[in-house]
Amino acid sequence: MTATDTHRAIDAVWRIESARIIAGLARIVRDVGLAEELAQDALVAALQQWPESGIPDNPGAWLMAAAKHRAIDMFRRNKRLERKHEELGRKLQAQQEMAVTDFDGALDDDIGDDLLRLVFVSCHPVLSTEARVALTLRLLGGLTTEEIARAFLVPEPTIAQRIVRAKRTLAEAHVPFEVPRGGELAARLSSVLEVIYLVFNEGYSATSGGDWMRPALCEDALRLGRILAELASQEPEVHGLVALMEIQASRSRARVSSSGEPILLLDQNRAHWDQLLIRRGLAALDRAEKLRGMRGPYALQAAIAACHARALTPEETDWARIVALYEALAQLAPSPVVELNRAVAVAMAFGPVAGLELVDGLTAEPSLRGYHLLPSVRGDLLKKLGRFEEARAEFERAAALTRNARERDLLLDRARACAGS
């Protein structure tokens, strides 16, 4: 094996093991930043030793043991310091001796709990959303700073800074390395889910850059979601989010034309939908629905996505059910965008007149003022009603509002088609 091969293999081992190692260490040293540094030290040791010694049979265990030794060295160093400040240090020393004794047992325990703690700490509300995203991708996703920077089209030093600051903020705020309990759990879990879905959406319909999709980010988000689904298997919304992402991801191949243009859901070639991901999504939704309590926003959105996934042709879509699901969603998490989607479903289920009535009720909504999909949907319904002149004006308005050049062309085409009718 050449040195390059060894380095590649070490990189692979690191990607597979790093989150577990960091999580295990964080429990002992009670500091996520320090845990990552210790794990990184172990990685450096591997990079120095493995090209000579060969890759050990159980490389994950090797890395864990190396990191553990570094942590114990650190404790001992601290202990020597304490001897010099005996009055101050006696109590702490006893604590740390106990910590060293506990170390072996602690690292051998089920790592799952530690990973879950790491998830909650990385998505802690003391951090900005951007910092949560960066830290989660770094510590749990195993991504390098460079990869995160590339994915979000941000300079690498910006991400590096963000991660350093996030670690410092966590340490300064003395954020405990634990899973929140009781009333706090729901809010903290929703912060975790938000981070994961944000990563997914950035991959699914990139808000910036030349590509409409960045599949690697979708995969990272899905992987994080799937991990969380096993760690927090009693939480219906976790399965709801996983179901939503699996089903959305199942359409990746069908939603872009060969020339890179977006293809709308009802125009997609359903033969290109990924049936494996659909099956996984429906299974995740089933898990969510079998758990206690009423459906949350992610499970409801997943249930809507599932209605499309189950329909072999657009005509088979159960629009009445989709309307009911949007109604439930609007009650739980009301927003003008949800209302607009509900209007589209109502138009499909009960005809364009009923849909237009709802859309007309939204035209005065301030938050939708610059939202191109409102005139686009309105134009579509007016056209179906044969009110071509009004439809043309709406498509033109929508074209003026969108920032996506390809979408603009499409809308202007539709406007012209109305003028000819």
């Binding site: 590649r8 692979a12 991504l143 599949p215 991990i227 096993e230 760690l231 494996l276 991901l277 996984r280």
Partner: protein, 122 residues
């Protein structure tokens, strides 16, 4: 990136020992927990299979066993992983279990990357 792992061996080895099956079960469980394995499955002996082949402009349907094949596919797994190297590392772990629990067995795991949306020429 999505990978298909295809396990091939001669059919003379028969069914794997329980220790190996248990170890594979544990590894699969870990892969599910790591969010990387999308699905997997084992195949019945080729004696229960049929080959449908196109050759010389004709369809040739032939029942198993596939005696002319030196090694046949015995199982597969689909993974979503961050790199080819990670995929190879995963395959090594899988094959290491065979080495430990079924030392006389010989076979291979093919690591094959699957097409992504952007890879389609049309």
């Amino acid at each position: 990136m999505r990978f298909m792992m295809i396990v091939k061996s001669a059919e003379k080895w028969g069914f794997p020992p329980k220790e190996l099956m248990d170890a594979i079960g544990k590894l699969s469980e870990e892969a599910v927990k790591a969010g990387t394995m999308l699905g997997n499955g084992g195949l019945l002996p080729s004696a229960k299979g049929t080959s449908v082949r196109v050759s010389g402009g004709k369809l040739i349907v032939k029942d198993g066993p596939f005696t002319e094949a030196k090694e046949v596919v015995g199982g597969y797994a689909q993974f979503e992983l961050t790199s080819k190297e990670v995929a190879v590392e995963s395959a090594k772990r899988f094959m290491e279990l065979h080495r430990q629990h079924w030392p006389e067995w010989e076979g291979e795991t093919e690591v094959r990357q699957m097409y992504e949306p952007g890879d389609f020429p049309h």
